[in-house]
Symmetry: C2
Subunit: 494 residues, 2 copies
């Protein structure tokens, strides 16, 4: 039997997926396992693979098969798969191999050097590498914008969030800016009336790890298809069949690693529940970065910091670390719901978090559009941090623009996903609660079956079958609406 | 400037080396990190990569460039590199892609299932998978033999030990068989006169790991370019820039993991000291598996179990585990030099070890030559174990032919390397002692500089520049001579 064009494409994309598997594991290893001297060879190996995948994806045979397959008789899922294939092809086809390789190498170099530059607060050294990354990202943005139309930054945004534009972001974030500063001030003021007892460490790493594993079990992480490890910056990597999440431990701080684990577990469960029978095909991939983030924030913020879940978690904490005044129920819940503007995005509470995102969004957009240069970042960062959170980062790069690695690998356009994710998470949790009247009680009892079934049926199992808008409308009855996020914050914090 | 054919080849082989890098790390991960459900996707990814590398290596451009480069003006090192490229090409070119892929898949499947089959003593289940592996290995051997001439088994042997033949092995192992049983009997008898005190556990895994790291430091392992982890079967993997060694821990047994680490450290130092400026090219690879094994056995047996080194190591052991009667110096040394025939090859002492190897050599040769079938293995194993070591493995597959994974991935032809390696190690240690009159004193003082410099200069830094015979003659003044191994065993054990 002759293969159809569509069938040939599924074979090519399955092959690409197998190559990505190796890159994903080697990439995880790079952050979680690799000793420093492996860096150069690893970067070169990953870059070589990235060039190969680019060649395969952008070959004339793929181009021709994509257009021929459009004429073939396909069912809905196949058609969605073809749509996602075409999207991947278009994203890749306009980048010359040399740019792909140069950008990948510059990114690895920048990230690797960052590991020692950050502790040394070495902005000059970091800026030099970052300039290379920005140079290639601007080239990429220009090429993409020339093809799609629209602005350069919008062209990068589209990689992570199909159908999202900076115009729409300006509206969404504009809405946020109109009420968030006031909400932040009121929440801080309200909390200032009560003095909280801080947990007293040390909390040994080994026990923190066990506590994280407890939480992962509670949240249904499949340990036969994934692992928990350590890296400087928590992430969720690997492949859907073998999901690798990481966190980092500070023996003086109990909850940072724990909620890092809960966050990554949200990402992991999305990956672990993508449609198994379609794995390896583009339609089986997670819908978008904002949707991915909505799952991690659903776990970390909507569920994880809810009174019901915190109550359910408390016995695990005292079982691992004994009792202490900070673990008295009301204090413990208030401690994990406290609002405290700080320097570090990944440690931020959910009320001040959007400030970090909007700040970066504004800087990275200006950077890509060529309105500012890398050397302008520290001053702008300081100014915006002062404006939003009343904190200065002058000369403190390690807690300012060098605090994490998103920009090191040229991931411009990614940051907005975090706050879009928070908005989606609030909207989804609202819909789940409506659908599941006994939700609060179930959570307090540690029974998450109905909630996770709801997520599986409404989000996880669909992969990329629907557009983000379709998926969210099917799940909640309407397109993205920031009202639910505002409502959530007001209910929890005011 | 136009590239020469030779230069084009170096680019292709560098590319292949980058792809191998990803496979090597993903392969290490598979044994040291991967959760069970990742197995299928990982096998498929590795198989896809193996097919790709096979395609690149056996392409017509490579074939043509190899023959054209022969006419070019090359220096000695380049010529050696070209010789090794040609060898790789010839090894690969006669295997059809479909066989490469089928063998790789069958091997991964067999290895993965073995992990649960071995604890269950499930020979039937294992045999079913192994038959597939043997089938493809026989096909491979037939194809290789048809091209090279010689027997089928010799064709597989040549993959691991260029220039080695079963005729020569029969002579070397025949010599061994003429004196080893007697030596084994006399050593056992001599040791029976003294009762030894066994170390009393438990020895917690975490401290055993620290002790292993102590030994690795002492032995010059570069931790900026490598790691120590855990796997069911100790191995040395990764890439020369990032060498991954593993061991396994038994809390009731102190020295098994430790000497596993010392063994793998020998492999690792060879890899870490291959010629840096040639990395990525075939000439920079380790010379052969027997030479590789000679380095690990040099570390584990020649050096590691010598009185001088054991004495140097003792304070590390008591620092980690306190004192106990078994750690009294004479008892401790005798304990680590005791001869005790047992079921498990990797736990065997160096006197009985060759019995394990000759047994497997005879079985695997017969298996590949089609003289026996997989179903015949257990009975033959039992018969030979009884003959050599007086032990029966009847119905005990887990401690018999299912004890390790060499055959699961079709690595037939590899086993003889272990005993060839032991012979090379003895010959090399003899030469090093001749060259370094203060060696014993240096070792007792923990000063291994001169010894490792000698190894670096004579073995490590040459990679595959010379043939095995040339390398050994340069280092020791003569070709492989089993006399030194016999001498070493007699001196230490009689
Ligand atoms: Zn996240
Ligand atoms: Zn070895």
């Amino acid at each position: 039997m002759e293969n159809t064009h569509y069938q040939k494409l599924t074979k090519t994309f399955a092959r690409l997926s197998r190559f990505s598997h190796l890159s994903a594991i080697a990439g995880w290893d790079m952050f979680a396992m690799m000793p420093p001297n492996g860096s150069k060879a690893r970067s070169e190996a990953l870059a070589e693979m990235s060039v190969l995948c680019h060649q395969i994806l952008t070959s004339q045979e793929v181009a021709r098969a994509l257009s021929d397959a459009e004429q073939e008789d396909l069912n809905d899922l196949e058609r969605a798969n073809l749509r996602e294939m075409t999207r991947q092809y278009q994203q890749a086809a306009l980048l010359p191999e040399s740019l792909v390789e140069a950008k990948s190498l510059a990114g690895s170099r920048c990230e690797h050097a960052w590991r020692t530059q950050r502790p040394n607060n070495d902005w000059q050294g970091f800026a030099e590498n970052l300039k290379q990354v920005v140079k290639y990202s601007r080239e990429e943005a220009a090429l993409r914008a020339a093809q799609r139309g629209g602005s350069r930054y919008d062209a990068l945004l589209d990689i992570y969030e199909p159908d999202m534009t900076s115009a729409r972001l300006d509206a969404l974030f504009g809405d946020l800016k109109s009420w968030l500063p006031d909400l932040l001030a009121r929440a801080t003021e309200k909390q200032a009336q009560k003095t909280l007892i801080a947990p007293q460490g040390p909390f040994p790493t080994a026990q923190q790890r066990e506590l994280g594993l407890d939480a992962m079990k509670l949240l249904g992480f499949d340990f036969d298809g994934g692992r928990l490890d350590v890296s400087a910056h928590p992430f969720c990597g690997g492949v859907p069949e073998d999901v690798r999440i990481t966190t980092r431990y500070n023996e003086n701080e109990l909850f940072s690693a724990l909620f890092g684990v809960i966050h990554e577990t949200g990402h992991a469960r999305y990956e672990q529940n993508l449609p198994r029978e379609w794995l390896g095909q583009p339609v089986a991939l997670a819908r978008s970065t904002a949707l991915h983030e909505s799952q991690s924030l659903f776990f970390e913020m909507q569920l994880g910091r809810s009174e019901a879940f915190l109550t359910r978690l408390l016995p695990h904490i005292t079982a691992r670390f004994g009792n202490q005044p900070a673990f008295e129920r009301d204090n413990y819940i208030a401690w994990n719901q406290r609002v405290k503007p700080g320097y570090i995005r990944v440690d931020a509470d959910e009320v001040s978090y959007p400030a970090h995102v909007v700040l970066r969004y504004e800087i990275e957009r200006a950077l890509i559009e060529g309105e500012i240069e890398v050397d302008d970042i520290p001053a702008l960062w300081d100014e915006k941090m002062q404006h939003w959170l009343g904190l200065t980062t002058k000369d403190d790069y390690r807690n300012g623009c060098m605090q994490d690695i998103h920009w090191t690998d040229g991931g411009f356009g990614y940051f907005p996903s975090y706050t879009l994710g928070a908005m989606y998470a609030a909207q989804l949790f609202h819909a789940a609660r409506r659908a599941l009247p006994s939700l609060e009680r179930d959570i307090a009892n540690g029974d998450f079956t109905a909630l996770f079934d709801w997520l599986r049926q409404n989000i996880w199992q669909h992969g990329s079958r629907f557009t983000t808008a379709q998926l969210v409308i099917n799940a909640t009855g309407e397109d993205l609406n920031p009202h639910y996020f505002r409502k959530h914050l007001e209910t929890r914090y005011l």
